[in-house]
């Protein structure tokens, strides 16, 4: 079963690196990419070209982007009743304290800064995969009594 991951990232270099790293870490991950905040919101709300877009199991959000930055996107996701349950992780180059604090205030599920080295980056992506996608239980992956949730999920998305 494929794991839908939305990467909101404006840098093609980072997109490629992330794709490479996920490919090495988990074959089951299907990486969707939005290159800015507006694009990301359209994907999540299945607007325009993204009308068929799946509801992501995980969103990786860069902070500094054109048009609508990651903080705005985070704020909208967590302000939306339907979208707020999607685990949203900040993945950025910033190590600034205020960025970290602000992100968690906006209910980011996690905050990672991109390491400079290739191997370090690959390790980080591997960690995200193993912890958030494999180990952690995500909405829609619960037991029978949680079938409502499973049913609700597509319905919710469908709505």
């Amino acid at each position: 079963m494929a794991l839908e991951v939305l990467l909101v990232e404006d840098s093609p270099g980072d997109v490629r690196l992330t794709r490479e790293a996920f490919r090495a870490a988990n074959e089951a991950v299907r990486l969707h990419v939005a290159t800015d905040g507006v694009d990301a919101m359209a994907f999540l709300n299945r607007e325009g070209a993204y009308s068929d877009a799946p509801r992501p199991d995980l969103t990786l959000l860069d902070l500094n982007m054109p048009k609508m930055d990651g903080r705005e996107v985070l704020s909208r996701i967590k302000g939306d009743e339907v979208l707020r349950s999607i685990p949203t992780v900040v993945l950025t180059t910033s190590t600034a304290e205020e960025d970290i604090a602000k992100s968690y205030e906006l209910h980011a599920n996690c905050y990672f800064s991109k390491p400079v080295g290739l191997e370090a980056f690959e390790e980080l992506v591997s960690s995200i995969n193993s912890f958030l996608l494999v180990t952690a239980k995500l909405p829609g992956q619960g037991n029978a009594d949680a079938s409502d949730t499973q049913e609700q999920g597509p319905e919710g998305i469908g709505k």
């Binding site: 840098s11 270099g13 980072d14 690196l17 490479e20 180059t93 910033s94 600034a96 991109k114 400079v116 080295g117 290739l118 191997e119 980056f121």
Partner: protein, 812 residues
């Protein structure tokens, strides 16, 4: 001359006049008798001797002469006639004497009248019997007023001689002793001739009663008195007694011898009684006189005593006044209204250089040329009383002139003084050279002080304790835009509305002394107000000044508009600089942050390239890729260090109580791999709690210990962190290693940005670590320094402020 004396002389005068008239009368009557042959006139007793014509003429002449001489004016024509008559008397006497001695009949007796009765009892009929008496009388009359006292004496003696002759003749008549007269005087004298002659000789004798023998009788002395008393008895008693004795004898009562004995006995008795009574009287008188004398002497003594007393008093008074005058501290000169000096004291002598004698009687103008004499003397424009009124004056300043002509300033005080000599003016003259000198000096000093005040670069205002402006300089005028006159006497509040006057004046909360103490102050910044109302910032310095008018406060006022503007400008610059620094810090942070993005790309993709294509391209490609990877790695470290450095400045956190022990432990955790790789031994003292930014303190320890481990020679690196108390509140931390050490010339340089002492091949590094340490030390209000010996190791030290009551030992 006593009353009795006057009476005596009057009587004598009268007697003289009577005697003169009697002589004249007798003479004229006898001549009348001869002329008309009246015998009764020629002789008193009929048959007796007649008076001859020449005798009568002599008597008339002599009487007239005496009459004329009596008033005593012998120099007049009257006197001349008198002496001429006297000469005629002498000539008649002389002619008679010659006739008598020569036996010639010169016919003098018959010259005028013939002898009608025939000469009886006369050897030479008609000849002058008492010729000598006439010569004596004439000479006496002529010599009466002679100049020589001896001659006058002789004249009186001559008159007495004539008197004796006359008395002898009279006695002859009384005792019927014609014989006697023949013996003595050759010729009998007619009775009335003798009496007239006696009277006349007495008159001549007493004509000049004050001199000669007459003087001895008329004198006031006791001798004269006695003589006057005894003389009548001497003249009368023997003659009377003799006559009585003669009568008794003639009556046949006794014999001549018994009569003489009786005469002598009675004479002695009478004279003895007279002498005794006289002596008794004189003794009484003497007693009275001596009593009187004693009284007089007593009176005299008393008087003398009184005079002496009075004199002493006067001398004393004079002495006192003189003493007063001399004791006066000033020169004193007393001047009369004529402007002449009457009196002066020693000081005046000294002051003007004259001696007393040279000045007394001189014009005061000689010593005070102007302004003094003018005050004394009334002139056309003033009456004497006005001049007097103006004499009183004090503190009149004039010029005095010394004897040598030099002049000096004086001050005179005048006061008028009424005296028997008229109004005098006492002038107290003070030499005021010294005072004038002092005044000049004072004026000079004042001038200097004034000059000093005016030369002051600041505005100077002197204020009294009432807050009123007393003095100011031209700078003050300019600064406040007032003229001097507008400010002097005004309240200082007008130009410095607040903060100045309050300091000067004591009020309810302060005593005057406290207020004074607060007057002293420097650099008090206030606001000044110009005349146009505009205000400007001033700085004043106050200092109190004691003066005769009370305490004054001198305020030096500086217009600090420019300084204030400069200060404001500076503050603005500082703000701008701070802003700029902050922006720069932000820029450095943002720049280094944004640089990470492309750097990550370069680093990641060169690594990816290296991983996927190593060995698949040629050896050169592999080398190029290795350089790119290395460059990317270094750049990464550089950017991270830059970020750390900029964070020290931009990330300002409050300094809080921080455990340096804990900070060290955290630093060591961060350094764990480096410590383990090098096998270093890191030790430390017990560390205290300090006031610090914990993150930065960790960074500090991390950098210093990291360096200590990194810059090592072969062997076991040893690092020791120690701390010592430095003063009351500071702790000095030291990180000591046994590493390479540093040359002294680099001690400063190593704390600079990007400064490195080693090649990259020897030790990797960015040259930012110690710059960060320096910045952290400064951020904590201290500094960092190094002590080192190359090859022996280095010690880096920095100080941090301790926490109250914290001790290193308590942290264990």
């Amino acid at each position: 001359m006593s009353d009795s004396d006057i009476r005596l002389f009057r009587r004598l005068q009268l007697y003289c006049q009577v005697s003169a008239l009697a002589a004249m009368g007798v003479g004229v009557l006898v001549m009348f008798g001869w002329a008309f042959h009246i015998g009764a006139l020629l002789t008193i007793f009929p048959g007796d001797v007649t008076m001859k014509v020449n005798t009568a003429l002599g008597l008339a002449f002599a009487g007239t002469s005496l009459w004329l001489l009596l008033p005593g004016e012998s120099r007049t024509r009257r006197g001349q006639i008198a002496r001429l008559l006297a000469l005629l008397v002498v000539l008649i006497g002389a002619a008679t004497l010659i006739e008598y001695f020569s036996g010639l009949n010169l016919g003098i007796d018959q010259l005028i009248f013939g002898d009608p009765l025939g000469s009886n009892g006369t050897s030479s009929p008609g000849r002058l019997a008492p010729a000598t008496a006439f010569i004596a009388i004439g000479l006496a009359l002529m010599l009466l007023d002679s100049k020589a006292p001896r001659v006058r004496w002789t004249a009186q003696a001559l008159s007495l001689w004539a008197g004796v002759i006359a008395m002898a003749a009279i006695n002859g008549y009384i005792y019927h002793a014609v014989v006697l007269s023949r013996i003595w005087l050759y010729t009998q004298v007619a009775v009335h001739s003798a009496i007239a002659l006696l009277l006349l000789s007495g008159g001549i004798f007493f004509a000049r009663p004050r001199g000669g023998p007459a003087g001895d009788l008329t004198g006031a002395g006791s001798g004269s008195l006695m003589a006057r008393r005894l003389l009548p008895a001497v003249l009368l008693v023997p003659i009377s007694l003799g006559w009585i004795a003669l009568q008794g004898e003639s009556a046949g009562l006794y014999r001549a011898e018994l009569g003489l004995a009786l005469y002598a006995t009675v004479s002695v008795l009478v004279f003895a009684v007279l002498v005794w009574s006289n002596a008794r009287k004189m003794n009484r008188e003497y007693d009275q006189r001596s009593q009187a004398e004693t009284d007089i002497r007593k009176l005299n003594t008393e008087l003398e005593g009184r005079v002496a007393e009075r004199t002493t008093h006067l001398v004393q008074m004079e002495g006192r006044y003189r003493g007063l005058l001399e004791a006066a501290p000033d020169a004193m000169v007393v001047v009369n209204v004529a402007g002449e000096i009457v009196l002066l004291n020693v000081r005046a002598e000294e002051q003007f250089g004259y001696s007393r004698d040279e000045l007394i009687g001189q014009k005061v103008k000689n010593i005070i040329p102007e302004g003094f004499a003018e005050r004394l003397i009334a002139d056309g424009t003033r009456s004497a009383s006005e001049a007097l009124a103006q004499q009183i004056g004090t503190g009149i300043e004039l010029i005095g002139r010394r004897r040598d002509g030099s002049e000096f300033p004086i001050e005179i005080m005048l006061s008028p003084l009424e005296s028997p000599e008229g109004i005098l003016v006492t002038a107290a003259i003070r030499d005021i050279s010294v005072r004038k000198g002092a005044e000049k000096h004072l004026a000079q000093m004042e001038g200097r002080y004034h000059g000093l005040l005016e030369a002051a670069p600041d505005a100077m205002v002197v204020v009294n304790v009432a807050g009123e402006i007393v003095l100011l300089n031209v700078q003050a005028e300019n600064q406040f835009g007032y003229s001097r006159d507008e400010l002097v006497g005004q309240k200082v509040k007008n130009i410095i509305p607040e903060g100045f006057a309050e300091r000067i004046i004591a009020d309810g909360t302060r005593s005057a002394a406290d207020a004074l103490a607060q007057q002293i102050g420097t650099g008090i910044e206030l606001l000044g107000r110009r005349k146009d109302g505009s205000q400007f910032p001033i700085e004043i310095m106050l200092s109190p000044l004691e003066s005769p008018d009370g305490i004054l406060v001198t305020a030096a006022i500086r217009d600090i508009s420019v300084r204030k503007a400069a200060e404001a400008d500076l503050l603005q610059k500082i703000d701008e600089l701070n802003l700029s620094n902050e922006e720069l810090g932000k820029f450095a942070y943002i720049a280094s942050h944004d640089l990470q993005e492309p750097l990550r790309m370069v680093a990641s993709y060169t690594q990816l390239l290296s991983r996927r294509y190593k060995g698949k391209l040629d050896a050169e490609a592999d080398e190029f890729i290795a350089f790119a990877v290395d460059g990317a790695n270094r750049m990464q470290r550089l950017i991270q260090d830059l970020l750390s450095y900029s964070r020290v400045g931009t990330k300002r956190r409050e300094l809080v109580d921080t455990s340096s022990e804990e900070a060290l432990q955290r630093a060591l955790v961060n350094l764990r791999s480096a410590v383990e790789e090098s096998g270093a031994l890191v030790t430390h003292d017990p560390l205290p709690t300090v006031l610090a930014d914990e993150m930065q303190l960790i960074q500090m320890f991390q950098n210093l210990i990291g360096n200590a481990i990194k810059y090592q020679k072969p062997g076991v690196p040893r690092v020791h962190i120690s701390v010592v108390r430095n003063g009351a509140k500071q702790w000095t931390f030291s990180v000591k290693d046994n590493g390479l050490g540093i040359e002294p010339q680099y001690f400063e340089k190593i704390f600079g940005m990007f400064q490195r002492l080693h090649k990259r091949e020897e030790f990797a590094g960015t040259g930012i670590g110690l710059a960060i340490c320096k910045k952290i030390a400064e951020r904590h209000g201290g500094s960092i320094s190094v002590a080192s010996e190359p090859g022996q190791g280095s010690t880096f030290s920095f100080a941090l402020e301790g926490v109250k009551g914290s001790h290193a030992s308590q942290q264990e």
